[in-house]
């Protein structure tokens, strides 16, 4: 028997996620075959729908932008040792802040709307995440449960707000539409290529968020403290890091990031706030973060993958009506399952494979380092 070797980081961070996604696609393909359709054709349609045209690509990038925000949100909390599964509710409540600012400023200029909505969204998103953070830090309530509960409380709160408070008279539980002057331009207004797809200026905010999170976590003292707390809370206590403030800050940043989705989706594209606008993107953010190994580079790739699944899925419904578009939800679920929860599935096998291929002297050297 060949000895198991610890995997090189590229195998761990690139090969394994790729195998997980491939497996999810294979199982999804089997499901398509099961209902008597051609899985190869389905996958082709999916890929073409997502990347084959400027229009499709625009949608893919638009979805990927939202998922970048929710994925980064999960990742930042995760680095501080917290599992924030409340991105859904945080993005939802953030929609309130975003739309209120947008509706207030929409007769000035879209730049003000953009800035105002971003501030509004980040503030409310941060607040909605900081409360569970505070309850975890100060009262010991488990953050997973509290954030789940906050998703439901958010949902009740928002349907109340949209039905009773900031509702647009005559329509059913939604706000009025943002005035023409305040509409954030779509990229297709500058680049013909994107046709009428919803990708907009928030794409660049997404890029900024990716870089910003990298700098925050690995190039600032706050990030060092966040990671210390996440990796070893006792060491953080020893180092004099205030767990309460770091947890609240990390959760607030997390919520603010999730909230950015509101500007991308509700303000820029839907131009109003409707009930349940988040549509599960907050939850998919968990998958994005885990598949992306909580690192911005991984997150952007995972976000594009999931964005492509969304867009390709709706194209699939057009071209192959016999294949229900829920196929995409199934594939997403499988990706979450394989890359998030069954991550270790391929590891022992890969470790054996790598053990067999690795040359002997190298293995000895590794052992020497352990001994020294």
């Amino acid at each position: 028997m060949s000895a198991r070797q610890p995997l090189p980081s590229w195998a761990l961070n690139v090969l394994m996620p790729a195998m997980n996604v491939l497996l999810a696609l294979i199982v999804g393909g089997l499901a398509v075959a099961m209902i008597g359709e051609n899985p190869i054709q389905a996958m082709q349609v999916l890929a073409y729908g997502a990347f084959g045209s400027g229009y499709g690509l625009g949608f893919t990038l638009h979805y990927a932008t939202s998922l970048t925000f929710t994925g980064l949100a999960v990742a930042v909390a995760f680095h501080s040792g917290l599992f924030n599964i409340g991105g859904e509710g945080q993005a939802y409540v953030a929609g309130l802040g975003a739309i209120m600012m947008a509706l207030w400023l929409d007769h000035t200029h879209w730049v003000f709307v953009l800035v105002g909505a971003t501030v509004g969204a980040m503030t409310l998103g941060a607040l909605w995440a900081a409360i569970p953070g505070y309850l975890q830090a100060k009262r010991g309530s488990h953050i997973v449960i509290t954030t789940i509960m906050f998703n439901f409380i958010a949902s009740a709160l928002m349907s109340y707000m949209l039905a009773q408070v900031i509702t647009n008279p005559g329509s059913n539980a939604e706000t009025r539409t943002i005035a023409e002057t305040g509409r954030i331009p779509l990229l297709s207004e500058y680049f013909e290529f994107f046709k009428h797809s919803p990708v907009n200026i928030m794409l660049f905010f997404g890029v900024v968020a990716l870089i910003g999170v990298y700098i925050l976590l690995w190039r600032t003292k706050l990030g060092f403290k966040i990671r210390t707390l996440g990796q070893n809370p006792e060491a953080a206590r020893y180092a004099g890091i205030s767990a309460v403030s770091i947890i609240v800050i990390a959760m607030a940043i997390s919520g603010a990031l999730a909230g950015m989705m509101a500007v991308n989706e509700a303000v820029s594209v839907q131009k109003r706030l409707v009930v349940g606008y988040v549509q599960g993107f907050g939850f998919i953010g968990i998958a994005v973060a885990f598949m992306g190994r909580a690192h911005p580079v991984g997150i952007v790739l995972a976000a594009i993958l999931f964005g492509a699944l969304y867009q390709g899925g709706s194209e699939l419904a057009f071209v192959m009506p016999a294949v229900p578009s829920e196929l995409v939800v199934v594939i997403q679920a499988l990706v979450i399952l394989f890359s998030g929860a069954m991550d270790e599935m391929f590891k022992p096998v890969l470790e054996r494979v790598f053990g067999a291929f690795r040359s002997k002297p190298q293995a000895d050297k590794a052992a020497e380092i352990e001994e020294a």
């Binding site: 499901a31 309850l135 009262r139 509290t146 509960m149 829920e326 997403q332 679920a333």
Partner: protein, 322 residues
Amino acid sequence: MGIEDIIPLLNSSVRFAVPLLLACLAGLYSERSGIVDIGLEGKMLGAAFAAAAVAALSGNVWYGMLAAIFVSVCMSMIHAIASINLRGNQVISGVALNFLALGGTVFIGHSIFKRGGTTPNLSKDERIGPIDLPFAAEIGQVPVIGPIYEQLISGHSIIVYFAFAAVPITAWVLMKTRFGLRLRAVGENPKALDTAGISVFLLRYQALIITGVLCGVAGAYLSTSQGANFSENMTAGRGFIALAALIFAKWKPWNALWTCLLFGVLSAAQIRLQGVEFPLIGEVPVQFIQALPYVLTVVLLAGFIGRAVPPKAVGQPYVKER
């Protein structure tokens, strides 16, 4: 408000409470064994679909029930493989199962029935109908007790009685049997069990099978007893309320009963309180009552009213070799 108003309210409370109670007890077995189960919702949803689909195809609701249990147990086993064997993240596994059920039910339902995710309506014979307890009509004549017996206690489907019976049975299993002792131990300190020569894996698998069965029954109740077909996302967050109830009940079976009944009353009252003016506070928004179970759970978890301490080993994969 007289007894004739209260009985229907309590009756609908019971109907709301039953799927919660079953899912809550399902979660109890899982979490007492040390496995977090966010996927109660998904298992119920998958089971609800299986029950309605198989009942519609076969015309026999009991085949539907079996299918529901089978599907739910299979999903529970996926959770088991992920969290017990592969030591994966139990929360993510639960999230994945919820999505799998959400997409999978519509995907398969649409492929079979071509009705966009719903299943055909079941006739009265194809559903699990109410059963009248002995002498219901006769005792019904007695004042006060009569209507309670005839209308509140009698006349529910067998699943309702099963759910209520499951409470004392669970309490008995936990406290009085060998399995219960080991189950409680494995959720608190799996190493104690391992060193005593008992397989932690096996025990957790057993617990998750029970979880699967109970979620299966809960799902079947939704689509073949309370309702007459399956529709997309018909569980509508019940699995999460059950999770909240489990915490509120501090992982104890009798508490689970009271909590689920309380949440059931809240759900039933929600419909009746719409537009009702209260003295001093005025009209209570229906969304407030919707949110109440979740708010109460958050308040409880924060330790403002009592303290909810979960089983110590919950959520941590058991690693034997170092």
